[in-house]
Structure formats: C-alpha cells, structure tokens
C-alpha cells in the first residue's frame, strides 16, 4: 500500500468542499509518511487579507532553512483546499499529541490562510471548511475528533507555538458533530432560481453568460472564457461587496452584479 495520500482530493471533494490541485502534488513530499493518526491545524500568519492564498508558494517551496512542502493542505480564505503534497511535509516540529511524537510522519498538516491577529477574524466559510475538511480526513483514516489538534496544542515545549487562535474544544465538538452525520454541507446552487435562471459560473466555463459577466466587470477584449484573470476580477469584486471571495459566480454574485448596474 502506498503511503501517499492520493485519496485527499476525492475525500475532501466528497465532503462538499472546494478542492484545488496544486500541480505536482502527486509527487510532492517524501514517501516516508506513516499511517495517518490525526490532523494538526495551523495558520500561515501571513498578514495579507487581500489575497485568497498568498502563502501557497511558500508552502510549496519552503524557506531557506526548511525545505518544502510545509504542509499537505492549504486552506484559502474562501474555504478552498489547496492540495499541496501527497507525501511527508515539514509542518509539525517537536511536540506530542495523544502520546504520538512523530508529527510529520503521522499527522496531516493543514495550513489555513490567516494572520492570527485580532484584526483578522476567521471568515465563516473558511472556518466551516476547516471543520468539514478535518472531519472528512478523520473519517477516512478511521479516527475520532479527539485525533485533531491545534499546532499550539501539539508543540513542545508548550507555548512554543501560537497557532491556531480559535478554541479547539469547540472546534473538535463541531468536527464530532459533522462526523456524526449532523450538518450536511451547504452548496452553491447550480443556477439562479427564478428570474433569468443564470447558471453558476466558475473558472473554465465559456459562453454568452461569461461574456456578460466580463462586460459587467469592465474587462476589455473579453474572450468568453472564464480564465484565471476573470476569476481574480470576480474575487476582487466579491471582496469589495463583502460576499465570499471564491471567484465563483453564483446567485448572490449575480444579484450583486445586478445591483452594480442599477446604480
């Protein structure tokens, strides 16, 4: 049996989460992973709320003093899981949880994009994705909510780490609820209900609605293809309107676009 975590995308996708494969994830990270016994929750501490996952590049490549990957999963501010690596990652450092001291070998590391500061509250969509992602992983490896911990709980000597800054007992309780089958995920509808029933658009889509979207966003020489630039423009628009900046144009974003035109 391969120790690589090739099941990660399907398991997270199956939990109703947005999943993004970072090219090369299949072979990133060494093969020396052991059996997965839990999840360690981190935050990136990057103080930049204007981008969705600004630390992604660092997580892939590591730092001068520490080779990447620095985690298996990155969690964007919009609740998207970026699959960084399927092998071993340097995320844990020295510590202990449930008697296990081999964090990098036996724990999956999730780095969520957050500065960890008081002026950077966790977006509800990201926190919800955090709960669901951890629950899906623990279910897959046959563990309970007690097997996930914050990096600050794992790290030794205690007090060495401050991430993550939310209450872990509450977090684990929420994970346990999801593991118990409570709280099914809320998905974005595939199209508007009523009105023009415009379809939900995301990267990779084409057609007249994409053209319409690009015109509304004021993008020149539109190609009727929903590419990375369009997505970034949608995210910027969503951030400005205080809705989830996930680059997916669903009913709420369409409504906001309508408001913009009416003004």
């Amino acid at each position: 049996m391969s120790p690589r975590l090739m099941w990660l995308p399907d398991v997270l996708h199956g939990a109703g989460l947005k999943v993004s494969l970072v090219p090369g994830w299949e072979t990133r990270g060494q093969d020396s992973l052991g059996r997965i016994l839990g999840v360690i929750c981190h935050y990136t501490a990057t103080p930049d709320a204007s981008r969705n996952m600004p630390t992604l590049d660092l997580l892939l490549k590591g730092r001068p003093d520490l080779p990447g990957p620095l985690c298996q999963l990155g969690l964007g501010r919009d609740g998207t899981y970026y699959i960084v690596a399927s092998g071993r990652a340097n995320h844990a450092g020295r510590g202990e949880w449930n008697g296990i001291t081999t964090g990098n070998t036996n724990f999956i590391g999730i780095e969520a994009e957050n500065s960890g500061r008081a002026n950077d509250p966790w977006p509800a969509v990201q926190l919800d994705a955090y709960h669901r992602g951890v629950a899906a992983i623990l279910r897959e490896v046959g563990r309970t909510a007690a097997s996930c911990c914050a990096h600050r709980e794992y790290a030794l000597p205690s007090g060495r780490k401050s991430d993550v800054n939310f209450a872990m007992d509450e977090f684990r309780q929420r994970v346990a609820t999801i593991l118990g089958g409570g709280a099914p995920p809320v998905l974005i509808p595939a199209a508007e209900t009523g009105g023009r029933s415009r379809p939900t658009l995301r990267r990779g889509d084409t057609g007249q609605f994409v053209t319409e979207l690009q015109q509304r966003l004021g993008m020149p020489d539109s190609q009727a293809v929903f590419g990375p630039k369009t997505e970034a423009a949608v995210r910027a628009f969503q951030r400005q309107r205080n809705i989830v900046p996930d680059g997916i144009v669903g009913p709420k974003t369409w409504a906001e676009l309508d408001v913009m035109r009416a003004v």
């Binding site: 120790p3 093969d31 981008r51 969705n52 080779p67 450092g93 008697g99 001291t101 509808p189």
Partner: protein, 412 residues
Amino acid sequence: MFGSRILEVAIGIVFIFLLVSLICSAIREGIESWLKTRAAFLEHGIRELLHDRHAVGIARSVYTHPLIYGLYAADYEPRSSTQPLSALSRGGNLPSYIPSRNFALALMDIAARGTGTHGAANGPTAPQLSLQLARENVLNLENGAVQRVLLGAIDTAQGDMEQAIANIAAWYDSSMDRVSGAYKRATQKLLLGIGLTIAVVLNVNIIAIAHHLFRDDVERATLVAHAESVARDSSFIGGTSQAQYTRARAALDSLRLPIGWDQVRLTPPWDTRLVRDASGSVHPVRELRLWGYVFEPLVGWLLAALAAMLGAPFWFDLLNKVMVVRSTVKPHEKSPEESSDDRQTSSDRQTPNDRALVATPPAQPRPSHPAEAVVEPAPDPDAEVDACDVEADAATKLTEDEELPAARGGVA
C-alpha cells in the same frame, strides 16, 4: 536501537497478554457468579475435612447449624457425591465463604449440645457451653475422626475456651488453603479453555502480532505509550469484572493490531511452483504451507491462551518490571534534552539531525520502483523544525489570486 526494539516488542506482547488475561478472567468471573463454583468447592472441602463424603452426618449438621445456615439462602441441598467436582460445578445457594470462627463455634456447639434444634437444648435450661461439656458429649458428633480432632483441640487449650475455638479454626483454615488451591487449579484449566476460545474467536495470534510490532515502528510506539500509561495505573486491573472486560476490550480495539478476523485475507493454503520434470515439460506443483497456514496460528493462539492462564496480576507485575528495565536501557527517551533557544529563527543552532535534513534537496526524485520507496517510518528526524507561524518577509513571494490553480467542488 536494536535492543530497545526487541524490548518494546516484548512490552507490547506483555501488554496484549495483560489485556487478553483481563478479558478471560472477567469472563471466568462472570461464569463463577452464575454457577457459584467456589461454593461447591468449599462445601466439598468441608465434607472432606469432616470425613463425611456423602453429607449425611456431621457435614449436614454443620451446614444446617444456625451459625452457618444464616450465610446462605434456601435449604441445604448437597450435591450428589458421585458427581466429580470441576471448574463448572454448580454451587447453588451455598455460601462461597464461611468464616473460620463461625465454623469452629458451630462444631463446638454441636459437640456440646447435639445437633437437634428442638427441645431443651435451645431453652433457658440448656447446659452452659463449656469445654468440659463438649468433652463429655463429644460422642454427639458420631464421627470418629472429628471427635479425635475436637478432643485434641480441647485438651491442648487447657481449659481456655477461646484457645480451643482458635485451634479448631486453625485446623479449618489449613484445609481451606487446600480447597482454594484446588479451586485455583480448576480455574486455570477453565481459563486455558476460555483463553483458547477468545484467542480463536478474536484471532489473537501472538506470533503475527509480534511480527507486526517488530516491523511497524509507529504502532509499536503507540502501544508502548499506551502500556506505559496503564502500567502506572494499578486500578486498570481492578474494579468489577464487567468494568475490566469493557476496559480491556476498548484498549484492544483502539490498538489497530492484526487482531480479529475482518483483516484476514483468505488465500489458498498452498504455494504453486512450476517444476520442470525429466522430460522437460513444465507443470505446477502445489506445496502446502504448513507452518504459515496451520502451525503458526495454532501456536500463536495457544500462546495467548497459556498467557491468559497466568492471570492479569501476573502480567501487570511483569509489565511494570519490563518498563523498569526499559527506563534503564533508554534514559534519553525518559528525559529528552530541553533546549531554550528558538530553533526557527536561526539555522546555525540546529542539531546535526536537522542539518542533515536541511541539506536534503527539497525535491527528492522519487525512486523508480515504488516497492523500494516503502521506508520504515523512523521517529521524526526533523522533529525540531516546523513551518508555520512565521511571517513572510519582504523577500517571500506572495501568490496572487491569478496564480492560484483552478478549484472544483462546492457547487451543487
């Protein structure tokens, strides 16, 4: 650390033996509380002691004497003396314990005032209980051997009633040691049977488990950590038998060992080999895998059953002893050197271990054969380094939204 690996496997096996024997003794206690075998052994022992094998004379008198009669419910119905006594004999309503003083007083009373509970013997006119009276009426017992014992006890007491009672009680106690010895032997036989059943039903093949532990560093470390926490807590082998059983089962289930039948893959019990015969044609030959398929599980189960026979307290003591040995062999693991410096900010203070890891190129080429890539997960070589919570400085390239890979999911 080859030596400590073997020691850790030993700890794991002792721990599993402890769990198995806990389960078995809990089951044995369950059977005991249903059959009351201890009472049957006690009753049998008293019959032997009183030379009354068929419970028609003095043994019956003792059991129906008010001092003993109050210790059990319903009437005295002795087992048929033709039934052999075994670990599964029924004790019925009889008491499983008789205090030696009660027994001695009852015997003395029967000797002095007879067996009958009617008439003058119970009234205010009854003669006062004294050694003299007991000695004069010793024929009441109608049992030569017991009369002899009683006369001896009375005579050596030299007129002291308490001393005479104590003499009889001592005689009773010495015989009870024999009874509990017999009961223990019968119990061990039964435990072997229970152990074997449990070993087969739960598939506790200790050889396979030892193999697994030897190869799987993670599982071994988890198991040793578990065993360590249990060894410190002597209440683990205490409590009611039901609590013991649930505790041991929960511990076994949490251990992810090759225990149970659901992980067993059924393969044909033979290896097929191609053999070229004298004429040059090739035909398959089946070779029965006797050891791997038949003997190994049999021996593995039998070992687990034998371990159950020795009982949980034995394994608990042994576990503690092995733990002590381990702590003397591996002092480093008990108290890792603490360092106060912050390892994330400076790389020049890293231990040699860290340096070795840092020197590894980040993108190591994957071995071409996946089979070679199966590395035993060693204890974290890079346990000192970690990643997050470090603010990106100006030199760090931030990932723009445009550069993010496309996502799927999240839409109905």
